[in-house]
């Protein structure tokens, strides 16, 4: 969505250095809207000029909605302001930003941040990319279990401004020391929702209200675990713990949406035979995209070379029935198409946990039946096609009395190749899954390539049977 009215107005406001209008603009619109307007055609300096009129908390919210590339430019341009802003940003977003900046910039900004924030940032940047740890934030609300509901609400009033969410409150144990004397993360005892606190009698103890059957995430889980957990339970947030059940942070519902979209993009790209490409389409680096496309094209090119050997091994047929060669691309394509469909369905079903490895026999039976049904229907198409639509230039070359031989060759080749394509399209992802690898590696182009090689063998064997 663009904002046709706000953009020109902001240009005017900037030209007049109308600071009151800048503040109003920042503080009265939703931060996402402010960020969108500022992202359309303003320089980092101008964005800073507008933002710095608002209070620091608003600045931080708007900043978090700006695209990563703009955030980086702004950080490089104004390190002192950035140091201030960091203290009010949500803990996960600021750790992400600092990881993306050039080390020298990060260092000079970190010098402006106080000790507690510096430690928090250092803690968050240590987690591997695409892990739960990299998604989580440390600004969660927590309380000891010994408070009453009324006391808990009072304490939350103090905490609220600096917490990502106060709707889930984590109940933690007393602090304990590790062998080396440092403090271990406090153990997670339970969670209570703000709704529970509001509904509870004033003097009820939090520890009696809290839910203790907890679904938790491990900091070193893959981020896919987040998507699965939130798809199962309708949570607003989920706690992230270490091996001793110490609370390290929380992952909130809005991060999950990003993960699900990211994973879907990755799956689509894998299916299309593109190594995952990070970042927006127009911002992605050319060399990176080239590499991630070329590596697959190269693999497919090498595998596809077997079609040459397959073709060459049938040289006597090639010469004898030259009038049949025009049908080869049609017959081969059927295998690629049917295989690509089967692979798509099976890979997605595995990704969504709709089928598990133990279901493989059921899946395979289903796909073989489906392949038979599809092949039979295409067979009918093929008979009609060859009967009515074979070009005269081909018919002229068919030896007398061999027209139906031609028709049967094409039809049985189409059916055989459709069957083979659909079955390997379904079976290979399951095999890869059983071997503990990602079934999405069986991309549509890869299935099509394998099916091409088999298709040539099938085609010429059918030719041999009839001629």
């Amino acid at each position: 969505m663009s904002h046709p009215l706000f953009g020109p107005e902001m240009k005017l406001i900037l030209a007049e250095h109308n600071t009151a209008a800048m503040r109003d603009f920042c503080e009265q619109l939703h931060p996402a809207t402010v960020a969108e307007v500022l992202d359309e055609g303003f320089t980092p300096e101008q964005i800073w000029e507008v933002l710095s009129q608002a209070d620091i908390r608003t600045q931080a919210s708007v900043f978090e909605y700006l695209p990563p590339a703009v955030q980086e430019e702004m950080a490089v341009k104004a390190r002192p302001q950035m140091g201030q802003l960091l203290t009010k940003m949500s803990h996960d977003d600021r750790a992400d930003l600092l990881q993306r900046l050039p080390p020298s910039v990060t260092e000079s900004i970190m010098r402006l941040v106080d000790e507690a924030d510096r430690q928090d940032i250092a803690k968050l940047v240590q987690y591997g990319e695409n892990t739960v740890g990299a998604l989580m934030t440390t600004d969660y609300a927590w309380l000891p279990g010994t408070l009453t509901a009324a006391e808990a609400i009072d304490q939350l009033r103090q905490q609220a401004p600096d917490r990502e969410t106060i709707y889930y409150i984590y109940i933690l144990d007393d602090a304990t020391k590790r062998a080396d004397g440092s403090l271990a993360p406090r153990r997670l005892l339970g969670v209570v929702t703000l709704r529970d606190l509001i509904l509870a009698p004033r003097h009820a103890l939090v520890r009696d209200l809290m839910e203790t059957e907890l679904a938790t995430l491990r900091y070193d889980d893959d981020q896919e675990a987040v998507a699965k957990l939130f798809a199962r339970y309708d949570f607003l947030a989920a706690p992230v713990v270490d091996a001793q059940f110490g609370l390290l942070g929380i992952v909130t519902h809005d991060d999950v949406l990003d993960v699900v979209r990211e994973e879907a993009t990755e799956d689509l790209q894998k299916q299309g035979g593109v190594g995952p490409i990070e970042g927006d389409y127009l911002d992605a680096r050319f060399g990176n995209v080239w590499y991630n496309r070329m590596k697959w094209l190269a693999v497919l090119f090498v595998l596809q070379m077997f079609t040459i050997n397959a073709m060459a091994s049938f040289e006597s047929e090639l010469e004898r029935v030259a009038f049949l060669l025009s049908f080869i691309p049609l017959c081969l394509s059927v295998g690629g198409n049917a295989g690509s469909q089967a692979a798509t369905l099976v890979i997605r079903a595995v990704a969504l946990d709709q089928i598990r490895t133990r279901d493989w026999l059921r899946v395979l039976r289903r796909e073989v039946l489906m392949a038979l049904a599809l092949a039979s229907t295409l067979g009918v198409f093929s008979i009609a096609r060859t009967y009515f639509l074979t070009p005269d230039s081909i018919l002229e070359k068919v030896p007398e009395g061999f027209f139906w031989h031609l028709n049967w060759v094409v039809t049985f080749a189409v059916m055989g190749i459709c069957l083979t394509g659909a079955v390997i399209g379904a079976a290979l992802p399951l095999l890869i899954k059983a071997a503990g690898r990602d079934p999405a590696l069986m991309s549509a182009p890869l299935i099509a390539t394998l099916s091409d090689v088999l298709g040539i063998v099938i085609f010429f064997n059918v030719v041999r049977a009839f001629f």
Copy 2:
């Protein structure tokens, strides 16, 4: 996730008709966990036996986590219990369920439901599938703007048990009547969060606390609008309004996750050349899957028929350079692979709003450059490949002194076809988008088919140039 311990235990409990254990099981575990255990190998009657020991609210929560097929069986088996349960289910879930049941069952259950609930259900079932209206729920929390923060919290205590969420509270205008005397939906004035209410001074008026710059959804928007709104703003819920800004319902964050996953599945299926297939892989009806695969295979088969005409039109070349024919599948596949990559990237970028129609020139320039880079790299591969790896049976047939002609034909065909495939793979989705249709219709198999026809023309034109 399965629960190896709970299943056998539950079998024992059921055999002993241990009602106390059934109640404990339902009320102490998370409803999602209870639903998962009951979904593994128990009959609808057994599930009812276990559930009915718990209080009605717990029954409703567990029921909502059961898979649709099980819900339907249970509803058919026990209509009186179902009528009771409906009153405590969330409004969107019960409307969905009643729409899926056979009309006679729905009718007999509806007779057991009181008037207010019946009207609410009737309101929700009227919205079209895949619209915002079909996703929303009517059990939102709302207040008039004239209350103080303390009064508002008190009122919420009353409302809370029956509301999907009390973290966003909608502030509504006084009721107005339509021309026909019926009540119009109350106009939405603003929204206040429970966090704001908790933080506000006790006597602050809600109407002074509320946010009035609202991002809303229209009941007749496509459900994609929900995914886009929640991706932009980190909301827990969004209000759904009619043309007069009357509040009809809300969509909550957990529904959004389902929408995003559903849309991703649909996009993947389109890309794989499968008409969207609803429901889980193993539950989908065979005939429905057959139809949604066959229709695409048929379209592709018909389009692919042009390759026969293309081949046949080069009959003199076909005969003259028969030793080159073994290279055709290799050359053609390069176009399909490069095209499938380009289409995947462009279609996903359009879906995520990363590129808009006005960016088409930038996208096309980028894709042409990329296609050139990929084609050149593949050209090098191809020279090496033909030089070192051409089978002897083919070499024997190459006329004296024409080996390099063979090499150049294959290499230039590979490059030309790669270029063409990549460019049409990027351009066609953009064209479709500009024409106002869904770019995802340009599936990988469709691009591959079009690229095959063009590929044959390119291949034989290169042959003509060299022989």
